[in-house]
């Protein structure tokens, strides 16, 4: 058997080698075709054939229609909103009059510390008259975005007035307070830019930072050492400082804590590390500074050093809407790329004329600022010894912030305790104060507390009444 195999193999090999060593059989195009060329050509053909075959992959089977149907039937979505429990049905107090220092809630008169009416302009005669004139001339709404016949001459007048008041080249009006900051930030910061922001900024700023898709680094609330460390870290890690835009985002007076940002420190750091500042002055415009021009006036910093200033007008100016101001390049860029400006209807004209009248009032009566400051100082003094609560805001801030000395255990019980303090103060002593309410979407981790918004039109007796009421209720409820 083996011998036969050997014979067969030997004869096959002889046959192959005879072809291999065969003499030239033909001459094609001057090239002699030897036998081995034929074998090599066959080999090349086989190699090429193998190369063109696809590599082996186990076949992918897409889901059949029946399988997709089954999956769709099996899928059960979560309910759109979670279950509503009893304590979630809280209804806020309903006002039946203007939100001045004395308002009517549920039929009785209360002292109102829940409105950010810092200059006491709610109910001002001149402002009401200018609004009536505007309503009769222009109607209520402006019926169009700024680009499509929604620009009314009062808007342009208001922008010029605010720019002149602050001393900046130009300004731009937005139709709602919180939409200002979350439209400005994505207009200037894109993916790849670096932002260093305070951890206590309010939700609208956080939303703007998220929408901008830039790299955001937070520093400890109002802590300049922490800011310097973060700036140092970020500058060291940054690879192309010439191409990447860098911003520091702070608020002048923080809504969540009542602290005031030290602007001169921040400007010094900004110039050292080459950052730009975006400053949100919603609660400090018309409050800080000798003439009410805001934080730059208060700290003695020239206004050109701050690149972008935004503010909501729903506080000191007692109207609605917001504005942003800065250099001409900054303002012009927003007119086409700020989404809250381009894709939204413009500010109703009567609110713009109310803003003009409010700024006029502030220019003509700077004494209202000193009255506000005295009120804040009085209240601050009175509230320094409330049992169980401690003052956590800056001494010059019109938002007087009280937080619990000792937490009662969980965040939920804290909120309940503060709510019951506010409720009792309203029902028994007719003093309306506000507790900080945090949305579940808010990432701020600062402590919650009670907030009193001081106004220049509060009388001394109002302030004393509020302080006395808080002391009494806190002593009762905080063991």
């Amino acid at each position: 058997m083996a011998l036969a195999m050997v014979n067969v193999t030997a004869s096959v090999l002889d046959w192959v080698s005879s072809y291999f060593d065969a003499p030239t059989r033909a001459v094609v195009f001057g090239v002699p075709i030897d036998g081995h060329l034929v074998v090599e050509a066959l080999l090349v053909v086989v190699i090429l054939f193998q190369l063109t075959r696809k590599s082996y992959k186990p076949p992918k089977k897409p889901l059949t229609e029946k399988e997709i149907d089954e999956l769709c039937d099996d899928w059960v979505p979560e309910p759109l909103t979670p279950q509503i429990t009893e304590d979630m049905t809280y209804e806020p107090p309903t006002l039946e009059s203007a939100a001045g220092p004395h308002a009517i809630v549920n039929g009785k008169e209360v002292v109102n510390f829940a409105s950010a009416n810092y200059l006491g302009l709610v109910g001002n005669e001149k402002i009401t008259d200018s609004c009536v004139g505007a309503l009769e001339k222009y109607g209520v709404g402006s019926c169009g975005p700024r680009g499509f016949y929604g620009t009314i001459d009062v808007h342009l007048d208001c922008e010029q007035k605010i720019a002149k008041f602050l001393g900046t080249p130009d300004s731009i009006l937005y139709s709602y307070g919180i939409s200002t900051i979350f439209s400005v930030i994505p207009a200037f910061c894109k993916k790849g830019d670096i932002i260093v922001a305070d951890e206590g900024v309010h939700w609208a700023v956080q939303n703007g930072l998220y929408l901008s898709r830039s790299t955001v680094v937070y520093f400890k609330h109002n802590d300049m050492k922490s800011l310097e460390n973060k700036l140092e870290e970020v500058t060291r890690r940054s690879k192309h400082p010439e191409k990447v835009r860098r911003y520091i985002v702070v608020e002048a007076i923080y809504q969540n804590s009542g602290q005031i940002a030290p602007l001169d420190e921040i400007v010094r750091l900004k110039e050292k590390y080459r950052f730009r500042i975006i400053l949100d002055e919603s609660h400090s415009f018309g409050v800080l500074g000798n003439s009410g021009r805001g934080l730059a006036d208060h700290c003695g910093v020239p206004i050109e050093k701050i690149d972008i200033i935004t503010a909501g007008m729903g506080n000191a100016l007692a109207t609605d809407g917001g504005f942003c101001t800065g250099s001409v390049r900054v303002v012009d860029h927003q007119r086409l790329s700020s989404s809250g400006y381009v894709f939204s209807a413009s500010l109703p004209p009567y609110l713009a004329s109310a803003a003009i009248a409010a700024v006029d009032y502030l220019e003509e009566n700077p004494s209202v600022l000193s009255k506000l400051r005295t009120n804040i100082a009085t209240l601050f003094n009175e509230l320094s010894d409330v049992p169980g609560l401690v003052l956590a805001s800056h001494i010059l801030s019109p938002i007087v912030f009280l937080k619990l000395k000792k937490s009662t255990g969980t965040g939920k019980t804290d909120i309940d305790l503060l709510d019951s303090i506010a409720k009792q103060a309203l029902e028994e002593d007719s003093v309306l104060i506000a507790t900080t309410k945090r949305s579940s979407l808010d990432k701020c981790k600062l402590p919650i507390g009670l907030r009193l918004f001081v106004s220049a039109s509060h009388s001394e007796s109002d302030l004393l009444k509020a302080a006395a009421s808080l002391k009494r209720v806190a002593a009762l409820l905080i063991s």
Binding site: I84, P92, G139, Y149, L156, N207, E242, R274, P348
Partner: protein, 489 residues
């Protein structure tokens, strides 16, 4: 449906190509000239990087005078447009004191509430004196007045849902509600032509976003089946919830959404629906209740209905109407309710009065007359424009009619010529529409009388001939139609 002729597409692309080439050339020379000047940025990156505002600097600024025209009166059917001049080839525009009275075909004034109204304005002024301009406070702190609660109940009744909540601005309503309803692990399927506020809200929520072809219910079904079967990307876990977001009338197309088909698909696959009725509430439907009434869809089938007060009610602000549980949840978590200043009381009163007029509760039938007028006006105008040979988009009964322009040079030509003849038109180009599909958009109002519309038609026809946008063949004018028009004149 846009039917773009091949020749027009070619010429439009060529025009944009020439504009881009010239823009780049100018940028190049500007860079050379600025090389010699000192760079005073001192280590800062420029605040607007090179290509971001290429379109603004080189294309938009050339035709800047067609946009942002200031007016100095109420945006009624006739208004005063302020004249502007420029000394440096449209880079900066300066106001003059002179105004021209023009016919207003651009403002969102569907029911004519824009100017002072005999029923609404006295009540608004009274509420201004009682509640003052603003409450300076958020809704939860001390900014809720009796007017707000009254309006919320009225809106819920008007729209046909159990409860409603108000916000001070329509844009913020979408941007702040969508994150409160859905988060990471959820899926949002939105129409490809949705408004920027919805896109922003969807991005801000953190959920995955998928798009389905505009108004195409079969494609929506396909996308839904694929997404539910495959689950979340990469992990393939099942989605937590799915929301489909559509609009009632799309403002750049004037089309109504195919609501019955889309709702049927959504019910079959157990997904939630969100309807944005910014342009359709108060403007369409037998009694002004929006697309649901017009298309015969039960409001209980749609989970969340959103709308704004800017267009048909002549005020500002937005609302959400849904079941009581959803509204209570939103009142606790939505940041726009907790952190934003509450709606200005005179604006609230304007909406209350306007809604009462529409519902007929003011004792007259002005509301019904206005609704009939806008329907008649829209249908008349649209049919006349189509007869003249313009390419008009949009469905019947919709008060928005875009006329296609396509070429970039026709945008300023059409706009400026119409303004010379005292008709104020809105022209829209990139980025609000796709690059090739520039258009002029007309918004009809109940305040327009038949004479106004006929004058507008004459002017548009003349200018259309001049500019060359009658892409379709003109319908032959029947003799009795001519006499009908002559009789009205």
């Amino acid at each position: 449906m846009v039917r773009l002729p091949y020749l027009t597409a070619l010429t439009t692309l060529l025009s944009y190509g020439i504009l881009f080439v010239f823009g780049h050339l100018r940028d190049f020379f500007r860079k050379i000239f600025d090389w010699s000047k000192s760079n005073n940025l001192q280590g800062y990156a420029p605040i607007c990087l090179g290509y971001e505002d290429f379109y603004t600097r080189r294309l938009y600024l050339r035709i800047q005078d067609c946009f942002g025209r200031p007016i100095s009166s109420a945006p009624d059917s006739w208004f005063d447009v302020v004249e502007r001049y420029s000394n440096d080839n449209n880079k900066t525009l300066h106001r003059t004191e002179k105004t021209t009275k023009c016919l207003n075909l651009g403002s969102y004034n569907y029911l004519g509430f824009a100017a002072a109204d005999e029923y609404c304005t006295p009540r608004v002024i009274e509420s201004l004196k009682q509640y003052s301009v603003s409450t300076c406070s958020t809704r939860v702190d001390g900014g809720t007045t009796k007017l707000h609660t009254e309006l919320e109940e009225l809106v819920a009744r008007f729209v046909g849902k159990p409860a409603a909540v108000l916000f001070g601005m329509g844009y913020v309503t979408n941007s702040a509600i969508i994150p409160a309803l859905i988060g990471k692990g959820g899926l949002i399927i939105s129409d490809s032509l949705n408004h920027n506020s919805i896109v922003n809200g969807a991005r801000g929520s953190g959920a995955t976003v998928r798009v389905f072809q505009h108004n195409n219910a079969p494609h929506l079904e396909e996308v839904l089946r694929e997404q539910i079967a495959h689950g979340q990307p990469r992990t393939h876990r099942p989605w937590k919830k799915i929301i489909v977001i559509i609009e009632g009338i799309y403002s750049m197309e004037g089309e109504l959404c195919k609501l019955p088909e889309i709702i049927a698909v959504c019910k079959k696959y157990k997904v939630y629906t969100y309807l944005d009725e910014a342009h359709s509430i108060g403007a369409v439907g037998q009694t002004g209740r929006g697309v649901c009434e017009l298309l015969g869809v039960d409001t209980a089938d749609i989970d969340i209905m959103m709308g704004t007060f800017t267009k048909s009610f002549g005020s500002c602000g937005g609302y959400i109407a849904a079941s009581k549980e959803i509204i209570q949840h939103l009142k606790r978590t939505c940041p726009a309710h907790l952190y934003a200043t509450s709606m200005s009381p005179p604006a609230v009163q304007q909406v209350i009065s306007a809604m009462k007029v529409i519902l007929g509760e003011d004792g007259t039938n002005r509301g019904a007359k206005k609704l009939a007028q806008i329907r008649e006006n829209s249908n008349f105008f649209r049919s006349e424009l189509q007869k003249m040979g313009f390419e008009v988009l949009g469905d019947n009964d919709s008060p928005i009619m875009p006329i296609m322009l396509y070429n970039p040079a026709k945008i300023p030509a059409f706009s400026r010529e119409c303004l010379h003849q005292n008709v104020a038109i809105v022209t829209v180009a990139f980025p609000a529409t796709p690059l090739l599909l520039a258009r002029a958009r007309i918004c009809i109002s109940a305040a327009h009388s038949r004479e106004d519309l006929i004058k507008a038609l004459e002017v548009i026809s003349k200018v259309g001939d001049l500019v060359g946008i009658k892409y379709f063949p003109v319908e032959p004018v029947k003799p009795n139609k001519v006499e009908h028009l002559k009789k009205i004149e």
